[in-house]
Symmetry: C2
Subunit: 389 residues, 2 copies
């Protein structure tokens, strides 16, 4: 019955038929939890609350924090609380840790789902967040679609954004393939990433061309022959890296081009990814630079910052600067100045510079968080497909 | 970094480019939580585990239970556990309560999202669950669509299932409008309800006609002029009940019939709902019996079991048995024998019987749970639209 906590029984009854059956909460003593509000957003501050009278320590961790988790304080009724901010208008994620166990805010059902965990989300409204807010503009759809992966030998799910008017029209559209990071799955860009709303707003302002955005699941199942915990030799590592490239080029793209009204050529395909997805994007770039007209690598780069190893492994790609420069209209590397991928991003840009491959390196503020990645999508989409058709 | 817990770092690195930046977990002492598995399904039993060394009581509550929550037991490493079953193959929901605070299983990212709470879900595979399993059959899409509600004065979201082949074809389809219960929202039938997969499987077996399934958000915002906690007089109650009817008939149905390729007549519309949604279905039936060819009322009925009050309020409908019997092809009331809505369902059927309105009352096993409602959908869909077109 806990799920009814925020809705008074009278209202539930009233929303049903007159008179109709509704759930009866069990009779018990009221607690502060019954009327607890969390999170509460006010004047750009967020107050988090958790009723946990028996807990001995509760901490709060959010993606706006640079430092360690914040200890929450307990009042005499057993309610723990902490206030953050004032913060810039944005969409934030957070979680609680109760006596060492990471948990969610039970009063906030707005969540981001990962492969192995969840975070709560909370919106601080304001002008800076309008680009990702639900606005009174025409909306596209976000669809969940299943496809058969020959690469992985299983059915896989993707999320697909179709722009406003897709169903009613007959136009063919370009496609942005948009990859999430490690631990996330195909819903990430539609929940915490707010990709559909960002595109709705950009298209309404005529800043971005109408396009499909395909968001596959980049978290691949562990190969059957891979021993858990085993160290990978370079060949095994390469084989695993190629699994996603194969999944994308042999399964995802063909399914999309068969199923949706899209233009099936490189000039109408873009590929962007963050963190692990940025690594996947880099791999596709270096092995198949002719398949996409646009590449964006966010919060990723050279692991360990070893340009020599990267050059050795990607000599074929690096030796063809002319071909790459002719085919690729945009190769954008973006990273925050507090992101641990900063050095790796610079190292990647350094190799491209040295070998004469056209690219951009943009260093923004911020760290390795969705706060940055939503802005990167907002800034990338208007640069795609402007001269297409 | 907790979100990376189930994926070894080497594999994350390997899934990224060679060599690419990935998140580095902070260095700390290992705990039993690092390798904890929950839930673990084996031979139709489910073992639930939670690492909470400082907690003094942890209980488990699941929708297969008739009785009170089960106390979990703690081992000397601080891991609490409990095993359920053997259980019939099905899709179950559960939550933990740690020292009085309801929480989720942090090791299970498969969740059902409500308006004000979350539950974890776990599948026990087996023949009885095949009807809702991901099978190697053609799949439809589940779409999230936004629309403007004139009734509520806000943008609202719905989930829409389109059958396999919808995009490629030109056919017009019938529509099942499918309503969730109190505390849930428009995603419920696509997560814990598994409506898309159930329809995929029924359509592949040619048991159900291809149809759209429209799943609106039946949890309406509180009216601005309604004082929280105030007792509602009958007029206010009626006004609130009519809000959903208006939302459905003036906003949801027109949007669907404008946006999708559907046949816009009553013979190609069905309405089904559970619990609060069953109450909403009852209200639409009694006020607009001519708008849908099929009605299904699940786990709902007469609140308080007062047939006289219901007759008094619905005299116009009840007096037109001939008209209703001619237009409505199916009026199905279904409820479990352990459901608190059993008496109310019987009372509703009693009034219909007395007034000569054709209907079916089916009492199944089970209680007020999604275990039943998924089966009710499986059993209803094949009975819809068979003579249509």
């Amino acid at each position: 019955m806990t799920r009814l906590a925020l809705l008074p029984l009278a209202l539930l009854a009233a929303q049903a038929a007159a008179p109709a059956a509704v759930a009866q909460p069990p009779k018990r003593e009221p607690t502060p939890n019954d009327t607890l509000v969390s999170p509460e957003v006010k004047d750009k501050t967020i107050t988090f609350r958790l009723y946990a009278p028996k807990a001995s320590e509760v901490t709060l961790r959010g993606d706006w924090m640079d430092g360690p988790a914040v200890k929450m304080t307990k009042d005499d009724k057993g309610v723990w609380s902490a206030t953050a901010g004032p913060l810039p208008a944005d969409y934030y994620s957070y979680s609680f840790t109760v006596d060492g166990v990471r948990t969610l805010d039970p009063k906030n059902a707005t969540i981001k789902q990962g492969v192995a965990s969840l975070d709560n989300m909370v919106l601080v409204p304001g002008p800076e967040a309008e680009f990702m807010a639900l606005q009174p503009v025409p909306h596209g759809e976000v669809r969940q679609a299943w496809y058969n992966s020959s690469t992985l030998g299983q059915q896989r799910r993707m999320h697909v954004y179709t722009p406003p008017g897709y169903d009613a029209g007959a136009d063919k559209y370009p496609v942005l393939y948009l990859l999430h990071g490690g631990g996330d799955e195909d819903s990430g860009w539609s929940t915490i990433g707010r990709a559909g709303l960002i595109l709705d707003n950009l298209i309404a302002e005529k800043k971005a061309k109408p396009m499909l955005v395909v968001m596959p699941n980049g978290s691949l199942p562990r190969p059957a022959n891979l021993t858990p915990g085993a160290k990978l030799d370079p060949k095994e590592m390469a084989a695993i890296q190629d699994r996603f490239t194969n999944e994308l080029l042999k399964d995802v793209v063909p399914f999309v081009e068969k199923t949706y009204r899209v233009v099936p050529d490189a000039g109408h395909r873009a590929l962007a990814g963050l963190s692990m997805g940025g690594g996947q994007t880099t791999r596709v770039l270096t092995t198949n630079p002719d398949k996409f007209g646009y590449f964006a690598i966010w919060s990723a780069g050279l692991f360990g910052g070893n340009p020599d190893a990267f050059e050795g492994q990607n000599e074929k790609f690096l030796a063809e600067a002319d071909r790459v420069n002719k085919g690729v209209k945009l190769l954008a590397i973006t990273v925050g100045d507090k992101d641990f991928a900063l050095a790796g991003s610079k190292a990647l840009a350094g190799v491209l510079e040295k070998r004469g491959i056209k690219h951009e390196l943009t260093v923004t503020g911020g760290g390795h968080t969705w706060i940055n990645w939503r802005q990167y999508l907002r800034d990338l989409a208007p640069r795609l497909f402007q001269d297409a058709k």
